[in-house]
């Protein structure tokens, strides 16, 4: 999962302090693994260095926690490209796809497009596995089937999410 992109996505809705970013991140994506402060500031400083975010005002008292960060135009472009780049179809997709869908909804982008490119990438991998299976011996077939069933599970989740996008958009907007 790309924490940098997740933070960019959250910043697209408006400038925030590091602390604020951590809170919103944990609320949406940190169920199993809340972000550490160090991780937030390290990521922000990398985004800053790459010109994807900029400082937007510092409150009196100094220290990194007083700085407000805003996404730059380059950051918006980078985020947009990431959202429609499919995740590498792995046996376990983890939470990257969920994060992308939520961030797309938050930023008013097409969550359907995120799901469409992912479906296409999954099906491409599933086709390769199916071809390998057809030309393979029993061991090949069983190994490919294992991967195929897992990828199919991702796709079933993807279709269910596609069917519930309106509902999810409402929940995200709350």
């Amino acid at each position: 999962m790309s924490i940098g992109h997740a933070l960019l996505g959250l910043l697209e809705t408006g400038p925030r302090h590091g602390y604020d970013l951590k809170r919103v991140y944990d609320e949406h994506f940190g169920q199993d693994r809340p972000l550490a402060y160090g991780q937030v500031y390290a990521t922000l400083s990398r985004l800053l260095k790459n010109g994807l975010v900029e400082e937007r005002g510092v409150e009196a008292g100094g220290g990194p926690e007083r700085k407000r960060y805003a996404i730059t135009d380059a950051g918006v472009t980078d985020l947009g490209a990431w959202l429609v780049t499919p995740e590498n179809p792995q046996v376990y997709l983890q939470s990257a796809l969920y994060t992308k869908v939520v961030l797309a909804l938050m930023s008013g982008r097409s969550a359907e497009e995120v799901l469409d490119v992912q479906r296409a990438a999954h099906l491409r991998t599933m086709r390769e596995l199916t071809r390998r299976k057809q030309g393979g011996d029993l061991a090949d077939q069983l190994i490919c089937d294992h991967a195929l069933f897992h990828l199919e599970a991702d796709l079933r989740w993807l279709e269910l999410t596609a069917a519930r996008l309106t509902e999810l958009a409402k929940a995200v907007a709350e």
Partner: protein
């Protein structure tokens, strides 16, 4: 590639329920295209329109350069019997006939003599690895065997396009795999295109590409970067 079959801007409403709302797709000769989408998305209606079983309210379906709606009923029937083959989820075999007679049926309807038709049917049953069920009736064979008989019947007339609507929907995983493998293998050998309606990704993975149907509209991933 020039499509052998193409549909443009299809609209179809059943009562007050729109099933297709501007759907379109095309199939090249010998291509296997999966039509995917959730239940009620319109994918079966799309298949029925492509196959000339259902007439769309508007839009066009063109097969080999000819508009389906411009054909007479008789021409469309001949097309469905000769150039098209069909495999459905179940219930497509005539229960009173033997499996061999079922496979021979499309040729018999087309005027082929019984002996010739049944010899060809026997070859096809062997090719689908169910040569042993020829004398049995559909009610006496397993689901997997029944679907292979159905595939044999769909391919026996050397169709240009096979329409398969959830062909493995009633089968367990292993039988489903075997039916898909045989369907795609034999279609590739004979050069038939397949329009494969399925909601299962593992079945769709046998295709060359997919068309997604949602709310009666189609989306092709090649249009997505």
């Amino acid at each position: 590639m020039t499509p052998i079959l193409s549909a443009t801007d299809l609209r179809k409403t059943f009562g007050s329920t729109p099933a297709l709302d501007g759907a379109g797709m095309s199939v090249a000769a010998g291509e296997v295209v999966a039509v995917m989408g959730p239940s009620g998305s319109g994918k079966s209606t799309l298949l029925h329109c492509l196959a000339g079983i259902v007439a769309p309210d508007s839009g066009s379906v063109v097969y080999a350069g000819r508009e389906l709606s411009a054909m007479t009923d008789k021409e469309r029937s001949a097309l469905r019997r000769g150039a098209f083959g069909f495999v459905f989820q179940f219930g497509q075999l005539v229960p009173e006939l033997s499996c061999l007679e079922n496979v021979a049926l499309p040729m018999r309807l087309g005027g082929t003599k019984r002996r010739v038709a049944e010899a060809r049917a026997r070859e096809w049953l062997d090719r689908l690895e169910v040569g042993e069920v020829g004398a049995k009736r559909p009610g006496e064979v397993s689901g997997g065997q029944g679907q292979r008989v159905a595939v044999a019947r769909a391919l026996v007339t050397a169709p240009k396009v096979v329409f398969a609507d959830e062909p493995t929907g009633a089968l367990d995983s292993l039988n489903g795999e075997q039916v898909m493998r045989l369907l795609v293998e034999t279609a590739r050998e004979t050069g038939a295109a397949i329009v494969l309606v399925t909601h299962e990704a593992r079945v769709a993975a046998y295709s060359d590409r997919e068309v997604i149907v949602r709310d009666g509209r189609t989306r092709s991933p090649e249009l997505v970067p």
